[in-house]
């Protein structure tokens, strides 16, 4: 099959969004069904990525490359073991989100769905882009729909939250942009050829002193996205104010872009700087784990509790990323998926509660289990997945992360393991206060248990949780070769630098550029 399957997956949602524009905004159900169909079709297409993925190849697959604007700006996409599942996660969650918003969003349904679909394209684009320009375009473009999703359909402090979200993210990404420019010019100076191809940059070896600055720029951008302590304060605000769908996508996928960025860019491009900052970043991640957990413990709002729990969980993922060994990185990727599922599910669940009660304050609830037993079961499973209970997905990610961290540094692992206590603490306490105990609020008596639609969108998540918890092999195997190659990239250059002359600015053992590309660029110049 010669379909450009990856482009299809990436742009299908966008096409769907365009389609929706032509539907009258009063025909809400048609809009919903259409967007759901688009999301599901996208998901089905993305499944073919999974099935046709060859886990022996470390390099990106399904590569599509086309000239775009010249000067190294190319349309260049591909999927490797690191990004594969993040794409699948996105495509899986999107139909779920649309279903979850079925009745939750009553105002401006059309716009909501359009933004959601645009957002999906943006997110997938970030994960597939192999050209830095393209990557940055998607990275930024994705902000816009998110900005609207929070700002238009958000809670009372939505404007503050959405502006904070955008400005925070942009602060990082703009500096990253400067760093990209710097790499761009370095590469040009080194080879005389314009390129923004990530894989060309992998071959570029920079002086460690320069790496430091570039790494800082990249790392800041990703750290804000993750969010790493102390750049986390946008997260609770954004989460609390966002509508359910927004929170889900934000927690489940957007945060992963930060860790993905570290894996894809910051680590392999600047290995020496990584080594230099490793202690700092590791400590920040560790602080994030404990700090996030403690803050989650005392939140009065369910959503902000889950938000802070994200800080904690993402801290663990970051710590694992910096452990720089196979186990930890595979664990980190796995945990990214887990966190996507479990935190996403928790937000869905909070959304279900909110739809019934119009409050998110923990103190307004109590004894909901009695009224909604099925809901309670789903809630319990999702919560336990987040807690990292064996048999569910969270455990595998957590144990691999902790194992990898342990391998790298015992002390960090010992402190990091506190996450499993803290997570149990805040989540169970929250569960107790919301779901258990006597019913104190009369409103709760009127709560209806889950309807079919709600069950339909929760079930896939729960199935995934069990599947990933019981039989993770299909996931882990697909990552192996890419992760190994990533680590080779990080480690090989480490060796190089211990021997190299430190006086040079940059350079390099560049993988040869094909003559074809050089000719192309000459043509560019001629025009």
């Amino acid at each position: 099959m010669n379909l450009p399957i990856l482009s299809l997956v990436t742009f299908l949602p966008l096409a769907g969004a365009v389609l929706l524009i032509f539907v009258h905004h009063e025909r809400k159900n048609l809009l919903r069904v259409l967007s759901l169909a688009v999301a599901i079709i996208t998901f089905i297409f993305s499944l073919s990525l999974y099935f046709n993925f060859n886990d022996q190849i470390p390099d990106p697959q399904f590569v599509e490359k086309a000239d775009w604007l010249g000067y190294g700006i190319k349309y260049h996409i591909g999927v490797d073991g690191i990004s594969l599942f993040l794409i699948l996660l996105t495509t899986l969650l999107m139909p779920i989100i649309i279903l979850s918003s079925w009745t939750y969003i009553q105002k401006r349904v059309k716009e909501y769905l359009i933004f959601m679909l645009i957002l999906e394209t943006g997110i997938i684009g970030v994960f597939v882009a192999l050209n830095l320009f393209l990557f940055y375009v998607f990275w930024e473009a994705m902000l816009i729909p998110m900005y609207f999703l929070i700002g238009v359909w958000g809670g009372p402090r939505k404007i503050y939250a959405t502006l904070k979200f955008v400005l925070f993210t942009m602060l990082g990404s703009l500096l990253m942009l400067v760093a990209i420019f710097f790499l761009y010019s370095m590469y040009y100076k080194a080879t005389g050829v314009y390129s923004l191809n990530l894989f060309d940059y992998y071959g570029l070896i920079l002086n460690p002193n320069i790496q430091i600055w570039l790494f800082l720029a990249f790392a800041l951008s990703f750290a804000i996205k993750v969010p790493l302590f102390p750049f986390h304060t946008w997260l609770p605000d954004a989460h609390v104010e966002a509508p359910t769908g927004g929170s889900v996508i934000l927690a489940a996928v957007l945060l992963k872009m930060g860790t993905y960025g570290f894996l894809r860019f910051a680590l392999p491009l600047f290995p020496d700087a990584v080594m230099k900052f490793l202690p700092l970043l590791a400590v920040l991640s560790l602080i994030g784990i404990i700090y996030g957990g403690l803050m989650a413990l005392i939140q009065k709002d369910v959503k902000s509790l889950v938000a802070y729990s994200s800080v904690s969980h993402m801290g663990l993922i970051m710590l694992a990323v910096f452990a720089l060994n196979t186990e930890a990185i595979e664990g980190a990727i796995y945990q990214m998926l887990n966190h996507g599922l479990s935190t996403g599910a928790l937000f869905l669940i909070v959304g279900i509660l909110y739809e019934r009660s119009h409050t998110r304050m923990i103190s307004d609830f109590g004894g909901v289990s009695k009224q909604m037993p099925v809901f309670s079961a789903f809630f319990l499973i999702c919560m336990l997945s987040s807690v990292g209970l064996p048999g569910l997905n969270g455990f595998i990610g957590e144990i691999l992360c902790i194992f990898g961290i342990f391998k790298a540094n015992k002390l960090l692992a010992i402190l990091g393991i506190s996450t499993i206590i803290l997570a149990a603490g805040y989540l169970l306490w929250m569960f107790q206060r919301v779901m258990q105990g006597p019913i104190t609020n009369e409103k709760i008596l009127s709560f209806k248990d889950l309807n079919k639609r709600e069950i339909v969108y929760l079930v896939p998540i729960v199935i995934m949780m069990f599947w990933m918890g019981i039989y993770p092999k299909p996931f882990l195997r697909k990552m192996d070769s890419s992760v190994t190659q990533l680590l080779n990239r990080v480690n090989k250059r480490e060796i190089y630098f211990t021997q190299s002359r430190k006086d040079k600015d940059f350079l390099l053992e560049i993988e040869p550029i094909t003559t074809e590309e050089k000719n192309e660029q000459k043509e560019d110049k001629a025009r």
Binding site: F138, A141, L163, M170, V178, F181, Y184
Partner: protein, 476 residues
């Protein structure tokens, strides 16, 4: 090639102006729209001429008039801008009581000044062209005669503009005194050698920069901008925000490209421009944060954009400068078009408060305005992003890293106020109902064109880049 036809772009425009003036006498008030059509026809002819003359390098008056590709490209672009402004004005002038035939005539005359400036490399001629443009601008700014703000804008523009002109003239005198010529090439030739008069020439150059700096509104010569933009009739503001700025930068281009290349000591001027650039970006964006009037916000935003454009000048990257200007034309006129759209007879909605809820009430205006704002803020996949991308990336390559860092931080600030407008449009409940006149096909045409431009330039501007490369590589 010496060819009388080289005059044709200017002549066409001036003839158009004269015809409009003539017909104005005979036309009834209700039929003043014909004047707009006539103007547009002449603009189309002018644009057509520009296309036909591409790559022909016609010149006349011993090379004083020289239609190289750069000139043609920008005449075309600014003809387009003027055309947009005329389309925007058609309803506006009847609504806002500016309904004079001279309106179009002045616009066309201003455009002729622009064409004169663009097609010459003699500072005297450029100066005269600038005066044509300025005098028309002064008058245009004050055209809402019953509006105190409009006349205030006119007087401020006029007094400060003349003040700046005086500096420009003095600078010209000093340059002339040292190089005995007003032609840019001889002036640059003078800078190649060191002499006693070098310092005088340098000061002369600085004063000329200041004179043009006023036109392109760079800090600290920008003070007039917000007031004039606010007071002037809105289509005219759109005109101000694009046309003089573009022309000013093209003059800079013609002046500095050989200057950087040939002059002995370019450091002093370089650092002055560096400081101006930083100040412009920072002050423009910071003050914009405080504004609540849409036109003022856009005014400060245009100041800030002048800063980004200066980066391109400093990076000596002509094509990115030209590309930025092209994109800037579409997004800025588009933004003003959206502002103009929110008006009805006798009333303009210009305060942020008025914009609450507009996005959903008038979806097309909201969407297009948002896209223009996002483009101004530099979000992909709009032209604004690509323009910044080109400018900043070449600047980094040229070693202007600090400038670029300041630039991106400044644009971060800018994101706030651009998004704030969107916040009002989409995320606030309307505090008071607003009523606008929706039948305005000309305006929507402009919105559509600008939207198309912004998107096309953001996603696939290859063809235009090719043209731009031809334009900047061929001049001189």
């Amino acid at each position: 090639m010496n060819n009388f036809f080289a005059l044709s772009p200017i002549l066409v425009v001036v003839l158009g102006a004269l015809l409009v003036l003539l017909l104005d006498v005979f036309l009834k008030k209700e039929n003043k729209n014909y004047l707009a059509y006539i103007s547009l026809i002449f603009l189309v002819i002018c644009a057509f001429v520009c296309i036909r003359f591409w790559n022909k390098n016609y010149s006349y008056f011993n090379g004083n008039l020289f239609l190289d590709n750069l000139a043609l490209f920008f005449i075309f672009i600014l003809v387009l801008a003027t055309g947009f402004v005329i389309l925007l004005s058609m309803k506006y002038i009847t609504f806002q009581d500016v309904n004079y035939g001279e309106f179009y005539a002045l616009l066309l005359l201003a455009l002729s000044g622009v064409a004169i400036m663009l097609s010459s490399i003699d500072l005297l001629i450029i100066f005269l062209g600038l005066e044509v443009l300025s005098i028309c601008s002064y008058a245009l700014a004050g055209l809402k005669r019953k509006d105190e703000k409009s006349s205030e804008a006119a007087i401020k523009y006029f007094l400060l503009g003349s003040f700046a002109t005086a500096f420009l003239v003095y600078g010209l005198a000093l340059l002339y005194g040292s190089s005995h010529s007003t032609s840019i090439s001889s002036i640059i030739n003078f800078f190649i050698t060191e002499s006693e008069l070098s310092i005088m020439a340098l000061i002369g150059l600085a004063l000329v920069i200041i004179g043009f700096g006023f036109k392109i509104a760079v800090v600290p010569f920008h003070m007039w901008t917000p007031d004039v933009y606010q007071g002037a009739p809105t289509p005219i503001t759109a005109f101000f925000s694009v046309v003089p700025k573009a022309v000013g930068f093209i003059v800079f281009l013609r002046l500095f490209v050989p200057y950087w290349k040939n002059a002995l000591n370019t450091q002093a001027i370089f650092w002055i421009l560096w400081v101006i650039c930083v100040l412009t970006m920072v002050v423009g964006n910071l003050v914009a944060l405080r504004q609540t009037n849409l036109k003022r916000i856009l005014a400060y935003s245009s100041i800030a954009h002048a800063g980004y454009l200066l980066i391109a000048v400093l990076a000596q990257d002509n094509s990115s400068l030209v590309f930025y200007l092209t994109v800037y034309l579409f997004m800025n006129i588009g933004a003003f078009a959206a502002v103009i759209a929110l008006s009805r007879k006798g009333k303009e909605y210009l305060e942020l408060e008025d914009y609450a809820g507009v996005g959903f009430k008038y979806p097309w205006i909201g969407v297009t305005f948002s896209i223009f704002l996002l483009s101004l803020a530099g979000f992909p996949p709009t032209g604004g992003f690509l323009a910044k991308f080109y400018v900043f990336s070449t600047a980094v390559r040229e070693g202007l890293l600090p400038l670029v860092i300041i630039g991106v931080l400044a644009s971060l600030i800018s994101v706030f106020y651009y998004l704030r407008i969107i916040v009002y449009m989409y995320m606030r409940e309307p505090a008071r109902e607003i009523e606008i006149a929706v039948e305005n096909p000309a305006l929507f045409l402009v919105l559509f064109f600008c939207l198309y431009g912004v998107i096309q330039l953001g996603i696939y501007p290859r063809n235009i880049l090719v043209l731009i490369n031809q334009a900047v590589s061929s001049f001189f």
